[in-house]
């Protein structure tokens, strides 16, 4: 069971993430139905607090970015955990093969993996999640393997084994409580990496639908209005950086 001790900053991060997720379900204006011609680049006003492209789209964009980044992070963690399990529990040739494969995989840039996937997949948010999840898998595997070996060979785990603890019981009471902080730190790092890479790929126009509200694609669209409405470029990046900085500074103490 995941027991966490929240500090003020961690509460702030939690509220921020929940706020972002709410944007996916509800926004004050439908971000896909705004009349851009009537309200052309008027900037913040009473009806649209953050400008015509502002609150609704920005809010939903933040929610989508957080959701996609969290999905990529989950995929990377899942795949790397599976690989670590097979590498540790499987035959030695299998372990060697996985380590060699990861050594090769880690050399391939995420942009390359993204472009490669989009050769046969249609550009979509799901394809980007897959690309980023696969791209960060090798990094996650290496980190997770180091943590696992460190905890598995620790004296207290060995002592538990000697005292008769095995299998699930050993994992639940000796390994997991000590692996958890490292896993949380890795998740935080992976989340930040995934969000930046996803937004980067979306900024390149690889997300498919140009109207899909994601902070990277919003920035790409708004770059055209740099002269007329600079806030359209400043705000999406500021929101993304605020979310990532908040997550970066969180600790989620046990």
């Amino acid at each position: 069971m995941l027991r966490l001790r929240f500090k003020y900053w961690d509460w702030w991060v939690l509220v921020l993430l929940v706020f972002c997720f709410v944007g996916i379900l509800w926004t004050p204006h439908n971000p896909m139905a705004q009349d851009f011609r009537d309200a052309a680049l008027e900037g913040p006003r009473a009806a649209n607090w953050l400008g015509i492209d502002g609150l609704g789209r920005l809010w939903r964009g933040a929610g989508n970015t957080v959701l996609l980044a969290a999905s990529s992070m989950g995929l990377s963690l899942l795949l790397s955990s599976l690989l670590v399990s097979v590498e540790q529990a499987g035959p030695s040739w299998c372990g060697r093969f996985i380590r060699m494969g990861v050594g090769i995989w880690v050399a391939l840039p995420v942009v390359f993996i993204g472009l490669l996937l989009l050769v046969f997949l249609r550009p979509s948010p799901g394809a980007l999640v897959l690309a980023v999840g696969l791209g960060n898998m090798a990094f996650a595997f290496r980190q997770l393997r180091v943590y696992w070996i460190g905890v598995r060979n620790a004296l207290y785990v060995r002592s538990s084994e000697v005292l008769g603890s095995h299998g699930w019981q050993l994992f639940r009471w000796a390994i997991w409580p000590n692996l958890k902080p490292d896993l949380l730190a890795l998740s935080r790092l992976l989340f930040a990496m995934s969000a930046l890479e996803l937004s980067g790929l979306a900024f390149l126009g690889l997300i498919g639908d140009p109207d899909f509200a994601e902070l990277g694609s919003i920035l790409k669209q708004n770059q055209a209005y740099l002269y007329q409405a600079p806030f359209l470029v400043v705000l999406p990046g500021a929101v993304l950086s605020m979310v990532l900085l908040s997550v970066h500074l969180s600790r989620f103490h046990r």
């Binding site: 050594g103 090769i104 050399a107 391939l108 840039p109 995420v110 942009v111 390359f112 472009l115 490669l116 996937l117 989009l118 050769v119 046969f120 249609r122 550009p123 790092l189 930040a192 990496m193 930046l196 890479e197 937004s199 980067g200 900024f203 390149l204 126009g205 690889l206 990277g216 920035l219 790409k220 770059q223 740099l226 002269y227 600079p230 470029v233 400043v234 999406p236 990046g237 993304l240 950086s241 990532l244 900085l245 970066h248």
Partner: protein, 354 residues
């Protein structure tokens, strides 16, 4: 250093021959895997690239084009032929522009290199000089931006920094152009494709000035991430006890701070710096692609993205493989350098522990 080198146990030495062989083996393995991956991805492409390009899709005409391109041959034949074509620079024609892919790469690659090489060099220089200056002079406040930069790499997207720089220095202050590689109103220098070199070769100072003005913001944007990574690694390495004792010993000998930090310490930490640049080659490449997009830079990144979105088979096949080869060359070179340079560091560490 020759005596301690020869005294080191054989397992700890890095003979150049073995090192080159090991690097070469890894290079070939990754190249084969990447080429196979690209080939399989193209095989799995849902659309027929030939049908997409033919305006009136007549089956007989499509079959004729497929036959002429060799797309009906068995997959192994096509894979081996593709590899042979890549190695002999026979990269076929772009289905979109009609020009040869080699000519397209020849047009876009110099632009990417002209951006990426100064960006990485400037970032490395900034990262090293700030940290060494802070330690040499005792101005610890210089390390504050270094710590800020380290967080920046994980919190602020590079393309947003690029957009903010454009907003500030191009839109508001008007010091630099918003994007592009050269002014339309002035004749661009020709020759190598590298505008900086061409303007020097042609003795055209105005062309050189225009090129530098266009390069300034993209290069600075691209340099931020390597600067952050190099500075962070260097700062961590300088905290090691044997390096601190070495500095104390050199200070006791009366060496000047410039000689201690600029010569001895710099030589010892250059290995880790090369390592970190190698391990970050992929991220740097991604940063280069994004920077090109922000500044409308006509480089390989844009060419590849357009190639993938337009299903331009030969651009995808050879362009992507070329990118992998370039990334691998950076990684291999950095790995080779770092192993050679870190050997000195390992030796110092062993002597220190002895």
């Amino acid at each position: 250093m020759s005596e301690p080198d020869s005294a080191a146990p054989p397992s700890r030495r890095f003979p150049a021959g073995r090192l080159v062989l090991a690097e070469l083996r890894r290079f070939v393995l990754i190249f084969l895997l990447a080429s196979l991956g690209i080939f399989l991805a193209l095989e799995a492409m849902p659309e027929d690239p030939v049908s997409l390009r033919v305006k009136n899709p007549d089956p007989a005409r499509i079959a004729e084009i497929r036959e002429s391109l060799g797309l009906n041959d068995p997959w192994l034949v096509r894979y081996v032929r593709g590899m042979g074509d890549f190695l002999t620079l026979d990269w076929g024609d772009s289905l979109i522009t009609g020009r040869t892919v080699a000519a397209e790469v020849g047009r876009f690659l110099p632009a990417t290199l002209e951006l990426a090489i100064p960006g990485i060099l400037l970032g490395t220089f900034l990262g090293i000089s700030i940290v060494l200056l802070a330690h040499a002079t005792g101005w610890r406040w210089l390390l504050q931006p270094v710590r800020g930069l380290a967080a920046l790499g994980l919190t602020v997207p590079i393309f947003w920094i690029g957009l903010l720089l454009i907003l500030c220095f191009s839109v508001w202050l008007g010091w630099f152009p918003v994007g592009g590689r050269f002014d339309f109103a002035y004749p661009a220098p020709h020759g190598t494709g590298f505008l900086l070199i061409d303007s020097i070769l042609q003795g055209d100072p105005e062309a050189f000035r225009i090129t530098v003005r266009h390069l300034a913001l993209p290069v600075f944007t691209l340099a931020l991430y390597p600067a952050a990574v190099v500075a962070g690694t260097l700062e961590a390495r300088l905290g090691e006890s044997f390096l601190q004792r070495l500095v104390l010993a050199l200070q006791a000998r009366g060496y000047s701070p410039l000689r201690i930090w600029g010569k001895h310490v710099l030589r010892l930490v250059s290995g880790p710096v090369a390592t970190v640049i190698g391990t970050q080659a992929g991220a740097l490449l991604g940063g280069a692609v994004l920077t090109e997009t922000v500044y409308s830079w006509p480089g390989m990144g844009r060419m590849l993205v357009d190639g993938v979105l337009n299903r331009d088979v030969f651009v995808i096949q050879h362009g992507l493989l070329l990118v992998v080869v370039m990334a691998l060359m950076v990684i291999t070179l950095a790995d080779f350098l770092s192993r050679r340079l870190d050997h000195q560091l390992n030796q110092m560490g062993r002597e220190d522990n002895a």
